[in-house]
Symmetry: C2
Subunit: 169 residues, 2 copies
């Protein structure tokens, strides 16, 4: 089980970024995303619609209590932060773990999170985007195999096209 | 020269996503980002501040005229779209090209863009995020070497830390 925790969502301000985090978690092979923080119903509902149309067994949840998520997690907790150890130095070791909770922050993350994580991991040591950090982390974790992942029970499925839009049905 | 064109920016609505696109372009090794569409001064200015503090030779520009950017580009144009050919099937071929303009859309992209691109490329065939698509595209193009890229003349530089925040000066 690979789950993603979107920590510290702020209503309105973070809506689109949180939606991107949820969709990236799904598209790049995670099993579940949990959003914590302020009301995130828009991001949660838009993700549910994507699952309904595009298939797969992905789950999306909202919680006010992120500490409970950490307390109950039985696998490793990985916190993605630009201050952490570098992805390229740790990924081989992380691939040997089978149950990961991957935490991505929004607003400033409390020291508690750095301490509760088994690994704090940086994807480049430059400021960029939690959406990008999550995508590249999962892409490396799954060694690129997630790019061809099948999503069962899809109502919509794209047929790759060099010059336009095609669907399989 | 690897440049990124953020196509079709919408003021206010896209501000944060466009900023993430700009910062991802920089962090993952592109040389330049060009934002086209509505007023993007907030994203452009926030990117300039990052360059000033975090170093590197990255450039950020705004244009109203995206067709001129395409007209004047002498290398290949790559359009990232969920409908395109799959990244994993094309990346080896794309790595042999040295001047790329990588286009990422925002709102719905016109058919013209699909036709002017030498390659339409999909990063997974699932809906997710232009921020993630750009990051994974550049990560694959540079074969992960961008993760350790140095940014000269930085005022701030992170020293990777397993459990907190450290800076080199």
């Amino acid at each position: 089980m690979i789950a993603v925790l979107r920590w510290g969502h702020r209503a309105v301000r973070d809506e689109r970024i949180t939606s991107h985090v949820c969709l990236v978690a799904r598209a790049f092979g995670a099993d579940k995303v949990i959003v914590s923080g302020e009301n995130a119903s828009e991001s949660v509902e838009s993700t549910k619609k994507i699952i309904e149309n595009w298939g797969g067994k992905f789950e999306v949840e909202y919680t006010k209590n992120w500490r409970k998520v950490l307390d109950e997690w039985e696998g490793k907790i990985i916190h993605l932060t630009m201050y952490g150890e570098q992805l390229q130095d740790k990924i081989a070791q992380l691939r040997t773990k089978k149950d990961l909770l991957v935490v991505v922050g929004s607003q400033k993350v409390p020291p508690e999170l750095y301490h509760r994580a088994a690994y704090n991991i940086s994807v480049t040591t430059q400021p960029h985007s939690e959406v990008a950090a999550l995508a590249v982390f999962l892409h490396e974790y799954f060694e690129g195999k997630e790019l061809g992942k099948e999503f069962p029970n899809a109502k919509v499925k794209i047929k790759p096209n060099p010059r336009g839009k095609s669907f399989e049905r």
